[in-house]
C-alpha cells in the first residue's frame, strides 16, 4: 500500500485517540478552569489497569470500559477531596494535578515495572479490511469509528440534553448558573469523572497501537495541551479539529523530519497563539 495512505490512516487513528483524550481535558478546562495535568496519567493508568484486567480473564471491551470507570473513580476522588479545597486558586490546582501526575507515574512504575506492555488487539478486529480496493488495518478503522461515535454522542450530550445545557451554562457564567439553581459543584464532579473516563478509555483502546510504557503520560499530555491551545478550550469542535491536525502533523512530521517531529508538531500551535490566542474555535475569556 502507498506510504502516504498508511500515514493518513495512522494520522486519523491518532487523531481519534487524541480527540477522546482532549475532549475531556477541554471540557474540564472550559468548565472548571483547571488545566488538568493528570490527564496524561489518566490515559496511561487506564491502559495499565486494562492490562491487569485482561490478564485476569476479562475481554478487551469490558477491560476498556471498566478500566475507564476505575480511572473515573480516581478522578472523582481527586476532584472531591483535593481540587474542591482549592476552588478559585488556579495555580494551586495546576501544581496539585502536576504533583499527582508524578505520584501516579511512580506507582505505575512500581506496579507494572518499566517494561512496555502491549495490549493484544481484540481478535474480531485483527487483520485488514478492504475499502475501495485498498486494505486497511481493521483495528485502526475501528478506533476512527469509535472517535466519530463519541464525537456525536458528546455533541448530543452537550447540545441536546438538560445536563448538557447545564454544563454549557456553567462554562459561560458559573455564578449566574448557580443563581438559577444549577448545582455547579456537582457538574464539576460529573465533568471531571467524564473527562477522566474518556482519558482512561482512550488509553485502553490506544493500547494495541501505542503499547503502555513509563513516560506515556508525559508524551500524551503535551499533545492534549497542543490540541486544546489549537482548538480553543471548552469547544468540542475545536478539540475534534485540533486532534486531527495534531494527528496528521505528528505522523507526517515523523515520516518526513524524524528528528524534528516534535518541533513540527508545535509550530501550528505557535502560529495560532500569535494570530488567534484564544484558539481556532475558542471565545475570548471574559
Amino acid at each position: 500500500m502507498n506510504l502516504w495512505v498508511v500515514l493518513a490512516v495512522n494520522s486519523i487513528t491518532l487523531g481519534g485517540l487524541l480527540f477522546l483524550l482532549s475532549a475531556g481535558f477541554s471540557l474540564i478546562f472550559g468548565l472548571m478552569k483547571i488545566p488538568n495535568l493528570t490527564h496524561g496519567s489518566f490515559f496511561m493508568l487506564g491502559a495499565y489497569l486494562a492490562t491487569s484486567l485482561i490478564a485476569h480473564g476479562f475481554d478487551f471491551w469490558t477491560a476498556a470500559i471498566v478500566g475507564g470507570l476505575l480511572v473515573a473513580a480516581l478522578g472523582g476522588i481527586v476532584e472531591r477531596l483535593i481540587l474542591r479545597r482549592l476552588v478559585g486558586a488556579e495555580l494551586a490546582q495546576v501544581l496539585v494535578t502536576l504533583g499527582l501526575s508524578f505520584m501516579i507515574a511512580d506507582v505505575c512504575l512500581l506496579v507494572w515495572t518499566g517494561d512496555p506492555i502491549r495490549i493484544a488487539t481484540p481478535s474480531a478486529l485483527r487483520g485488514a479490511t478492504s475499502v475501495m480496493g485498498l486494505g486497511f488495518p481493521t483495528y485502526r478503522l475501528a478506533i476512527s469509528l469509535i472517535a466519530v461515535v463519541f464525537a456525536v454522542v458528546l455533541w448530543a450530550l452537550l447540545d441536546r440534553t438538560r445536563l448538557g445545557a447545564m454544563i454549557r451554562a456553567g462554562v459561560d457564567d458559573p455564578a449566574m448558573a448557580r443563581v438559577v439553581g444549577i448545582r455547579v459543584s456537582r457538574l464539576f464532579t460529573i465533568v471531571f469523572c467524564l473527562g477522566a473516563w474518556l482519558a482512561g478509555f482512550a488509553g485502553v483502546i490506544g493500547g494495541p497501537i501505542l503499547s503502555v510504557y513509563p513516560g506515556l503520560d508525559q508524551e500524551m499530555l503535551p499533545l492534549a495541551l497542543v490540541v486544546v491551545i489549537l482548538g480553543g478550550s471548552g469547544s468540542l469542535l475545536g478539540s475534534l479539529v485540533g486532534s486531527f491536525v495534531v494527528g496528521f502533523l505528528y505522523n507526517f512530521g515523523q515520516a518526513m523530519f524524524p528528528e524534528l517531529a516534535y518541533v513540527v508538531l508545535f509550530l501550528p500551535m505557535l502560529v495560532v497563539l500569535v494570530v488567534r490566542p484564544q484558539g481556532l474555535f475558542g471565545r475570548l475569556a471574559a
Partner: protein
C-alpha cells in the same frame, strides 16, 4: 543586627567546605547553591511578576547544551560562557514573546508546551544533542587560572556566582523597576492606565529570569560535566517551581530555603528509597493543600497562631 546576621550567614556559607566534613556534603552544598540560583530566577517570574512558568528547565537546559556544544567545538571559557548565556537570552526572548500571548493559566500551558519542545529537541534531534546519551564535556573551566576540579574550589566559585545572583535580584526587587513588576502582577490594568508598558515590563522580567536560569544551567553543566534530556524534562521545571513554592514565592530567602529542602530531600530520599518522584509529588500536594504560601511564611504563620493560642490561656490561668 541585620548586618550582623548577614555577616554571620556569609561567614557560615564561605566556610562550608571547612566544617561540613566530606566531599559528598561539599558537593551537595554546591548543588544547593546552583539550584538556588535557578529557583531565584524562576521566582523573579513566578513570584514577583505573577507569571508561573513550567518551562524554565528548557532555558536551564539550553544554557547547559549550548555550553557543552561550544566547549566541545574547542572554544575558550569566556566564549563558552558568553555564548551559552547569549543563546539562553535569545531563546528566553522567543519564549517570552510567545508565552506572553497569555497570562495566568494560558501562560502556564504555553510554557509547558515550550518546555516540551526543548525536551523533544534534546531527545530526538540526535545530530545536535546526541539524544538520550547526552553530551559530556572534557572538564571544568579554570577562571583566572584557578582550577575548579576539587569540590571545595567548585563550591567557592559557585558561591561567588550565587552571591552575585542574590545581590542582583535583591537590587532588582528593591528598584523602581521591581516595584513596577509587582505592580503588573497585582494590578495590570491600573499599571496600564498609569502609563506603564505592562507587556515590556513582563518581557524584561522574563529575560532577567531566563538569564539566571541560564547561569544556573551553565553551573549545572560544569558541576556534572554532562548534560542529558533529563535536565530539560517537565519534572525538572516542576522541581524548580516546587523549590520556589515550598520556600515561599516573592521572597528572597524562600527559593534558597526551598532549593536546600528539595536537594537535601532528593539526596536523602534517593539514598533510602527509589521512589523520589512519588515523594516529590506528595510534597507538592501536601504543601499546596496545607501551606499554600510556602514553608517559610507558612511555618511562621502557624507558629504565631500557636503562640497566640497559648497566650490568653496563660493570662487566664494567672
Amino acid at each position: 543586627m541585620k548586618r550582623l546576621g548577614l555577616a554571620a550567614a556569609l561567614a557560615i556559607l564561605a566556610t562550608v567546605p571547612l566544617w561540613v566534613g566530606g566531599t559528598y556534603y561539599v558537593n551537595i552544598a554546591s548543588q544547593i547553591l546552583f539550584y538556588a540560583i535557578f529557583a531565584l530566577g524562576v521566582n523573579v517570574l513566578a513570584g514577583y511578576a505573577g507569571l508561573v512558568s513550567l518551562g524554565h528547565a528548557g532555558l536551564f537546559g539550553i544554557a547547559a547544551y549550548a555550553g557543552a556544544r561550544i566547549m566541545n567545538d574547542g572554544h575558550g571559557q569566556v566564549v563558552v560562557a558568553a555564548g551559552a548565556l547569549g543563546v539562553t537570552l535569545l531563546v528566553s526572548a522567543i519564549f517570552a514573546v510567545l508565552a506572553l500571548r497569555g497570562t495566568g493559566l494560558g501562560f502556564v500551558m504555553i510554557t509547558v508546551a515550550l518546555g516540551q519542545i526543548v525536551w523533544g529537541v534534546a531527545y530526538r534531534w540526535i545530530s545536535i544533542t546526541n539524544g538520550d546519551n547526552g553530551i559530556a564535556i572534557r572538564g571544568r573551566p579554570s577562571p583566572l587560572g584557578l582550577s575548579l576540579t576539587s569540590p571545595a574550589s567548585f563550591y567557592w566559585a559557585t558561591l561567588v556566582v550565587f552571591l552575585i545572583a542574590v545581590g542582583s535580584i535583591a537590587v532588582f526587587v528593591a528598584s523602581p523597576f521591581g516595584a513596577s513588576v509587582r505592580g503588573t502582577r497585582d494590578q495590570p490594568r491600573r499599571m496600564n492606565a498609569l502609563g506603564y508598558h505592562v507587556w515590556m515590563i513582563r518581557f524584561l522580567s522574563f529575560l532577567f529570569s531566563g538569564f539566571w536560569s541560564g547561569v544556573a544551567g551553565l553551573l549545572y553543566l560544569y558541576y556534572n560535566q554532562f548534560v542529558s534530556p533529563q535536565a530539560v524534562a517537565l519534572t525538572a521545571s516542576a522541581e524548580a517551581l516546587l523549590m520556589v513554592i515550598a520556600g515561599g514565592t516573592a521572597t528572597l530567602l524562600g527559593p534558597i530555603a526551598g532549593a536546600a529542602l528539595v536537594v537535601v530531600v532528593k539526596n536523602v530520599a534517593s539514598a533510602y528509597i527509589e521512589r523520589w518522584n512519588f515523594v516529590l509529588g506528595a510534597i507538592f500536594v501536601v504543601i499546596v493543600v496545607f501551606m499554600p504560601e510556602g514553608l517559610v511564611p507558612g511555618t511562621v504563620r502557624r507558629w504565631r497562631r500557636a503562640m497566640a493560642a497559648l497566650r490568653p490561656r496563660a493570662t487566664a490561668a494567672g
